[in-house]
Symmetry: C2
Subunit: 242 residues, 2 copies
């Protein structure tokens, strides 16, 4: 099917997916560029492909739409010159009994930080990443891009962190909060059981009510006191407990 | 002194500092916002302060210029609403006999990655960061911002990496290259002596000729094979050898 008008209903609908409200309403989101689309394909979440008129479609197995230049310009987030997009359905996960190592993110606002943490958590074999509901939307396009597709392979949940921590405690998880005060040095902490690591907002750290729920505060030892970027801090801890 | 014209010679000169060529020519660069300026002040590299007409100057000890809105708009890199800028002179460092732990960056192109690595190297007490001359310019404004001022406190050198490695070898440094092949697991490497850790370009890694100069290749063990962001990989290694 060829679409050449930016007022076409499909185009209007897809464009709405740049907005969280409509992503939530339809449980759909839009991605761009070959690499992400290949990862979404492997994760079996692609619903339809949108390609530039006349281009070869590498994924003929899905419903697809050819669009004219002006329509592609309307849809694109201008992050790729590849002029291929896909509509995907969201993934839906819950905590389960097989989880042993999870990452909790409290109020993170930088999509790049969250994406990098998800990508690193996947590399180190963590079971899940849980993003507090007051963090940036998981389907933010910058966030998706900075995961480089890893978020299609490691389960990520966006939910109420307090409820999640209560569930984890019932599953005998030890909850570690990374903070700068009342904290044990990272290198002195050992744990062979189920663990949850909490990392907090870029400016303010973890909120007090979440810290109060933790079993142990930990700090990354530094020579010069300089707060570390949260994705850096998270990665050092994830490597330690991998 | 009040400047209200964007064609004023000082304004023309300062604006040129957005360009590497003129930063190199004058050995000067421009920074913006209170936090960076405070760090530059501590590092004693400020030459002059530029503030918006009528604003209070927190640094009256330096030569300073009040400028009108239109001049500030011309100068600003629009990263801060604080409308204060400073002209600084570059720092100049060389390797020396007291260096024990250094970071080498080969061909990095993302200013944010380099800045984050410099900030982390400072936190962990590394002696120097050396940036290859084919990397992004050290005085790139995004790079400076992402160091959050740490680059004014840890010596950073931008130079020919091969020459630097030769010098380090004469000082009995063990040179480690992070690569994905022919590499020893990070956790199995121990070293109490002088060390240099090399990290490579975001897409291509470390160049072959630099890898060939290393004493040992190291790899960060992963569960799911996914290349790590270079700032993440660097931070994990820096923590390990801190």
């Amino acid at each position: 099917m060829l679409i050449t008008s930016v007022t076409n209903n499909k185009v209007k609908q897809w464009t709405k997916y740049k907005n969280k409200k409509y992503r939530d309403l339809d449980d759909r989101f839009m991605i761009e560029g070959m690499h992400l689309i290949e990862e979404a394909h492997k994760a079996k979440i692609i619903e339809s492909i949108i390609i530039l008129q006349g281009a070869t479609n590498p994924y003929p197995q899905y419903e697809y739409y050819e669009v004219s230049d002006n329509v592609m310009d309307k849809l694109t987030m201008h992050v790729s010159n590849e002029k291929i997009m896909a509509i995907c359905h969201k993934l839906d996960y819950e905590l389960n009994i097989n989880d042993h190592k999870v990452i909790l993110l409290d109020g993170l606002q930088d999509p790049g930080n969250i994406g990098t943490i998800i990508r690193t958590a996947y590399s180190f074999g963590y079971d899940k990443v849980i993003l507090s509901d007051n963090s940036v939307d998981l389907y933010n396009d910058k966030l998706i891009r900075s995961t480089q597709g890893a978020m299609f392979h490691i389960p990520v949940i966006q939910n109420d962190l307090k409820a999640i921590i209560k569930s984890l405690k019932k599953q005998n998880f030890t909850i570690y909060a990374t903070t700068l005060t009342n904290a044990k040095n990272l290198s002195s902490v050992t744990n062979q059981g189920n663990i949850a690591l909490i990392f907090g907002n870029e400016g303010n750290g973890i909120s007090k009510e979440i810290i109060d729920m933790a079993d142990q505060n930990i700090i990354i030892e530094m020579v010069n006191f300089e707060s570390l970027n949260v994705a850096i801090a998270a990665s050092i801890c994830m490597y330690k407990f991998k």
